[in-house]
């Protein structure tokens, strides 16, 4: 089965996170591309985290190692959902909000 993996890391660990997933995701280097900001501030506030959403099979090494990766990257979090059940508002926006984060858009 294929899942979406949704994750974020603290901005200070962005490069470390790129390195950590490079062995699993081809083209890593610009994988953690989604800027995030605290939910309490403006959408143009400080970027505190970077996120990603990618698809992986549950048999893949990345899927098997998600817990270890998250542990390695302090302050990170991840969530998975089968692609057939995925809903952006629920599994990304609401999940982020539950973690105190939202998308950084540059819009005040």
């Amino acid at each position: 089965m294929t899942h979406y993996v949704l994750a974020y890391v603290p901005a200070s660990l962005r490069q470390a996170a790129e390195t950590a997933v490079a062995q699993y995701i081809t083209g890593a280097g610009d994988v953690w591309s989604v800027p995030l900001t605290p939910v309490s501030g403006l959408m143009s506030g400080t970027i505190t985290h970077y996120g990603l959403c990618t698809t992986v099979r549950d048999t893949s090494a990345l899927f098997q190692n998600l817990a270890g990766l998250s542990e390695e990257l302090a302050g990170s979090a991840y969530s998975t959902v089968p692609i057939e059940q995925y809903s952006q508002p629920t599994h990304w926006a609401a999940w982020l909000e539950s973690k105190g984060l939202k998308g950084y858009t540059g819009i005040a």
């Binding site: 994988v31 990603l52 698809t55 952006q88 508002p89 926006a93 939202k102 998308g103 819009i107």
Partner: protein, 257 residues
């Protein structure tokens, strides 16, 4: 009688051989590029990887590169994480599903091909949310959803309509066909065949489009991307006439489930 029949058969054979080729967007003068998952799939031009070694052929295959079957120009996701998924309804319709987080496709730079005027068709569907407004760009006064276009380093485009007070509501789950026409000194936009913007305001023609980028309203403050389906984008370097627009609308309607 025999001779007549033989001649008749020969003419039938010639007729079949010289039948006009089926219409495709490149048949229209001024065609410059398309992102057309259905046509690219049919000609083995959807790739899962940047090096173009693994074809995307099946439902839920990720797509890193979509090559326009006519111009041979590429539409490319910036990383494997940013790939959309090839999906189908099983009866011949195909699209790219974007996740609303990071999926997008950067189009070819058409600066040398699109200069003073452009016509662009986009066919898409927003999958989630109660409604989306389609009107503008980096505008703090409200939500917006658009197909991004960049000319050089400046965000100016035929696809944008910032500062134009027209904010049609597009319900989620509905297919939408958007037609943009920009002459450089005038701008028109049609949604599902109805003109909702017709202005003499000058909007420079976009020359590099990104598919999947969106700026959505407050209900989706966690996203700057479109969660939905991309059926296609078709760009021309001039203003198409009414008959040509009809041809394209018929073609696009065939792409939609």
């Amino acid at each position: 009688m025999r001779r007549t029949r033989a001649i008749s058969n020969r003419f039938r054979g010639w007729g079949a051989a010289s039948a006009p080729a089926p219409f495709n967007p490149s048949s229209i003068p001024g065609f410059v590029a398309a992102f057309d998952p259905t046509a690219s799939l049919a000609s083995n031009k959807l790739w899962q990887d940047a090096s173009k070694t693994t074809l995307a052929t099946a439902h839920n295959d990720p797509v890193r590169v979509g090559v326009c079957p006519w111009s041979r120009l590429d539409w490319t996701a910036p990383s494997d994480a940013a790939r959309g998924l090839l999906q189908t309804d099983g009866i011949g319709h195909w699209w790219i599903l974007t996740d609303g987080v990071d999926d997008l496709y950067a189009g070819p730079d058409l600066t040398s091909l699109v200069t003073s005027a452009a016509t662009v068709f986009v066919a898409a569907r927003v999958n989630s949310g109660s409604q989306y407004t389609i009107y503008s760009t980096l505008d703090s006064t409200g939500g917006s959803w658009h197909f991004d276009a960049v000319s050089g380093n400046s965000h100016v485009s035929a696809l944008r309509s910032s500062r134009v007070n027209a904010q049609p509501i597009i319900p989620s789950g509905s297919n939408v066909e958007i037609l943009y026409r920009s002459s450089g000194s005038s701008y028109k936009r049609d949604l599902n065949g109805t003109t909702d913007i017709d202005t003499t305001a000058a909007f420079a023609c976009g020359t590099k489009w990104t598919l999947g980028t969106a700026f959505v309203d407050g209900a989706y403050s966690g996203s700057t991307q479109m969660a939905g389906r991309i059926y296609g984008l078709f760009a021309f370097s001039r203003i198409l006439d009414a008959a040509e627009i009809d041809q394209m609308r018929t073609y696009i309607s065939g792409l939609l489930p």
